[in-house]
Amino acid sequence: MTLDKNMRILIVDDYATMLRILRNLLKQLGFENVHDASDGKEALRRFETCRYDLVISDWNMEPMTGFELLKAVRANPETAGTKFIMITAESATENVIAAKRAGVDNYIIKPFTTEVLRGKLEAVFHQQVA
């Protein structure tokens, strides 16, 4: 079984360059239904009008971090089931443990390759990216 290429993905990062890179990488993997937000607060506002299948978020953002966004998404019954991948430079073990406890589905350390991203998508959805 393969991943649904039309699934709705929300990418969250405060660096426009990173959003652009992620969008291009996801496009290369066949995912074109990609939306973006520049921090956790903006991402939560997006959730008010739209449902997403997957959130790919950075950690270190102002005014709301990716970790705070993760907790907010998991705390809301309507969004709690959304898959959540953290892509971040925060590589302290305590961060990974805290994110795992908060319900993150996977965790990618920057810099990363398309293959790492593909592997994580497959691991999170238990399906192959065609």
């Binding site: 360059t17 291009n24 705070e68 430079a89 590589s91 990974v96 795992k100 990618i108």
Partner: protein
């Protein structure tokens, strides 16, 4: 001006004169002579006290002069009005240059990806042309390298001056008060924000993979 008096209220000189008339009185001449002897005996002590005090004051003055000399080496005006703002400008320029270069390279990559591949010769020429543009965009590295070198030099100057301050603190046995944690630092600690780890530090992707 008040006149010195004896315990019964009469001035001393008057009292001595009265006492000289009494049978057991000490003559005034002897009192004066004794006073002169006591004063003469105390002179060396007073002189030695003067010398010790002078030496103490001289040492204090020397210390203050040395401290003033060290402080002039720190030159806080130079640090705060010139070097730190200059460092900020250099770092901003580095961020801008890398951003411009990254955007240029990404524009080129997007154009190549979106290009029509039906005519291999035309596509090959376009790719070649775009590859040259990528090389041009990469020239930012030379400029940012030079800017980073200047920032490092400024940090070294500041480091030297902080060292002077540290020596002053050590030599003068000043107990430093606990360093204050800024509000941003407190907030970042609470939000588990540390930033990128240095090479060899932090958890690896493989270790993270084994946790999921």
């Amino acid at each position: 001006m008040s006149v010195a008096t004896a315990s019964d209220g009469a001035p001393f000189a008057q009292q001595a004169e009265l006492d000289s008339n009494a049978d057991n009185a000490i003559p005034l001449r002897e009192v004066i002579s004794m006073a002169e002897k006591v004063t003469a005996a105390l002179k060396p002590l007073v002189r030695s006290l003067d010398k010790a005090m002078y030496r103490e004051l001289k040492d204090m003055l020397d210390s203050i002069e040395a401290l003033r000399g060290d402080l002039s080496k720190v030159d806080p005006d130079d640090i705060f009005s010139r070097r730190i703002p200059e460092m900020g400008r250099e770092l901003s320029a580095i961020v801008s240059a890398t951003e411009v270069a990254t955007n240029s390279i990404m524009n080129i990559a997007e154009q190549v990806l979106a290009a029509d591949k039906s005519d291999p010769a035309a596509y090959g020429a376009l790719v070649e042309q775009h590859m040259m543009a990528i090389f041009e965009a990469c020239t930012f590295q030379d400029l940012t390298g030079q800017r980073v070198t200047r920032v490092i030099q400024t940090i070294e100057v500041i480091e030297e001056r902080i060292e002077v301050l540290c020596r002053m603190i050590e030599n003068n046995q000043i107990t430093p008060t606990a360093s204050k944690v800024s509000d941003t630092e407190k907030r970042n600690r609470a939000r588990l924000v540390k930033g990128p780890a240095n090479q060899g530090e932090g958890i690896s992707q493989d270790a993270i993979d084994s946790m999921f």
